[in-house]
């Protein structure tokens, strides 16, 4: 093949044109895909809104989260109903405290607990599961047996001892929730990793001498993110409800502060006589969960390395 001067020129010109086209990174791709998913975007907006309202909403009420409306207290099932005039937009609880403000104040705690719990699960659970599954052999055995021990362990005593040793502190809720939230996640990720391990591209990376931590982070983790995100969104409501049980044991949120879990379990006691006490916090939890759910699906689709 003899190449003429012209042809060389044409190729050079073409090459120049090509370099002018900007390359797209993996993350830009993901972002573009995410923002084209309407459900996910709307969810993100709603979640932001709920967060903002939780933080600022209480300013727009004449009541504080710990104020008792002594007047409404005399007959909650009548005077405690949702009412614009007396400022109880969502009604009051059995002690005459404003549900509107308490739901928003509870939202601050619950959103934090839900997100932190899931974050711990995602980080620790994914890394632990991926490492255990990928390394395999004796390490896998030991890591999995350790997980089984934690799984069966009497969690309540852990909480009670935490409380007697360190007293009550909001930070300890995260310790307690973090301690159990990642266990199932780790098992699920490990299962996926076991099957990924035999895939050609992982074997190729191994053959090329890529280090174990790098294979886990670069090749395993991105490929299990789909299931991780789905499971993490499932964890959010579980964490929010678990928080109220931890508070029952004396660790965690202290009255008069509250959380959605606490409000819902109180409201459930009175659902026939004062349905608003259950309905409002539950509605907030439902909307939040749906948002997390669609957001999770959007993220999953956007981050799916196979899907491009």
């Amino acid at each position: 093949m003899i190449t003429t001067q012209d042809k060389i020129q044409a190729i050079e010109q073409f090459a120049e044109q090509v370099t002018e086209v900007e390359g797209r990174s993996l993350w830009q791709d993901a972002r573009r895909r995410f923002f084209s998913n309407h459900a996910a975007v709307i969810s993100l907006i709603l979640l932001t809104l709920i967060t903002v309202v939780s933080l600022l909403g209480p300013l727009f009420s004449q009541w504080n989260y710990d104020d008792i409306d002594w007047e409404a207290l005399s007959d909650i099932s009548v005077l405690g109903r949702p009412n614009i005039e007396n400022g109880h937009y969502f009604g009051t609880d059995t002690l005459g405290r404003d549900i509107f403000v308490r739901t928003l104040q509870g939202g601050q705690i619950s959103l934090l607990v839900g997100i932190m719990g899931s974050a711990v699960a995602i980080v620790i659970g994914t890394l632990y599961g991926a490492a255990s599954g990928y390394i395999g052999g004796r390490v896998d055995s030991v890591m999995m047996r350790f997980l089984e021990i934690l799984n069966s362990f009497p969690f309540m005593f852990f909480v009670i001892i935490l409380m007697t040793l360190f007293g009550r502190h909001i930070f300890l809720i995260f310790v307690a929730i973090g301690a159990i939230s990642w266990l199932d996640m780790a098992r699920i990720v490990r299962g996926q990793t076991l099957s990924l391990k035999n895939k050609e591209y992982i074997e190729a990376a191994y053959a090329c001498g890529v280090s174990t931590p790098k294979i886990i982070l670069r090749h395993i983790v991105p490929n299990v993110l789909g299931i991780v995100v789905v499971y993490a969104t499932l964890l959010v409501p579980n964490m929010i409800l678990l928080e109220s049980f931890i508070s029952f044991l004396g660790l965690g949120v202290q009255e008069p502060m509250t959380s959605w879990g606490a409000l819902i379990s109180e409201g459930a006691q009175n659902m026939e006589i004062a349905v608003w006490q259950l309905a409002w916090p539950l509605a907030f939890l439902v909307v939040t969960l749906f948002c997390f759910n669609f957001l999770g699906d959007g993220l999953r689709d956007a981050l799916d390395p196979k899907d491009r």
């Binding site: 089984e148 021990i149 362990f153 299931i227 459930a268 539950l282 699906d297």
Partner: protein, 306 residues
């Protein structure tokens, strides 16, 4: 297979021993004793009780007494229910929870996987949204809301079902506990199945199958279902243990007499031997079903090596 099982059994013994040891000492480190009560007992009375239950001895001695009993299959006397031993209490309550649990598990598995697959195949259509909306409600409605709602609807507004009791597991007594127990599991299984199914349908071998022109149902059931079930099975292992060991809410609201109540009350009452009994039960089941899950992995994906 035989080596795998025998290896797991050998591993189970030290695992359980570690679990028992940690739980035992942690439990004794918690404030309060089985016999602390609102009425502080006179010192002599308390001393007599403590002597009877060896509580006056160092914890390490109590630990070895306990292990000694355990070797003979004796979980000890209940500190709280003084007329019964832990063996009797577990033998009475575990079958109840297991029966509710197994039914709930079957319901959750069938409905959950079914919903998940349907939603995944119609991804982002109204079918997907409505099936998933239903499933999500199950997650958000905690069982302490669902249980009283069930009773209100089935027993108080309509006199269709008895509001509680067990009566040896007659079916009218089984329905509401199974509803309350299975709902959140249906939802979680559906979500995981859906996510996993979507991922599988995007993978190369399914595309190849499509390209080959295979009929859709064959693609789904012969090619896609197996890899889809992998994460579902990872979830089902611990979920199954959770479901057969019952729920305190179900036990309290429906008065079933299941084992779920013993988990919470055992710890609140500092019924040491009960806490140990249920911990060992959960530990054994967890180890057992994780082994089952690992075997199932190998069945689903023969390339998996441990």
């Amino acid at each position: 297979m035989f080596t795998f099982i025998s290896k797991r059994i050998l591993e189970a013994i030290p695992t359980l021993l570690v679990l028992i040891t940690i739980s035992f000492f942690l439990m004794h480190a918690a404030p309060g004793s089985p016999f602390s009560s609102e009425r502080a007992l006179p010192a002599e009375v308390l001393a007599n009780i403590n002597a009877k239950y060896h509580l006056d001895e160092p914890v390490i001695n109590q630990y070895f007494y306990y292990l000694g009993g355990l070797l003979q299959g004796d979980l000890g006397p209940s500190f709280r229910y003084k007329d019964f031993t832990i063996n009797e209490l577990i033998a009475q309550s575990f079958p109840v929870s297991a029966e509710i649990g197994i039914w709930s598990f079957l319901v959750a598995l069938i409905l959950g996987v079914g919903c998940g697959i349907i939603a995944a195949l119609r991804q982002n259509s109204w079918v997907d949204y409505s099936v998933m909306a239903f499933a999500n409600l199950g997650i958000v409605l905690p069982n302490f809301v669902l249980a009283p709602l069930c009773i209100l609807f089935f027993s108080i507004y309509n006199h269709w079902l008895p509001p509680g009791g067990w009566n040896g597991g007659a079916w009218p007594y089984l329905i509401m506990p199974v509803i309350a127990m299975s709902t959140s599991y249906i939802a979680q299984i559906a979500r995981i199945t859906r996510g996993s199914m979507i991922e599988t349908m995007h993978s190369n071998f399914i595309r190849t199958a499509h390209a080959k022109g295979l009929p859709k149902h064959r693609i789904i059931f012969q090619h896609a279902l197996r890899p889809t079930m992998l994460p579902v099975i990872s979830y089902l292992g611990p979920a199954f243990v959770g479901i057969v060991t019952g729920s305190v809410i179900v036990d309290v609201y429906f008065g079933t007499g299941g084992i779920g109540q013993h988990f919470i009350n055992g710890a609140l009452n500092r019924d040491y031997s009960m806490v140990m009994g249920v911990t060992i039960l959960v530990g054994t089941l967890t180890i057992l079903f994780n082994a089952v899950v690992d075997i199932l992995y190998a069945v689903i994906d023969p390339k998996i090596r441990y």
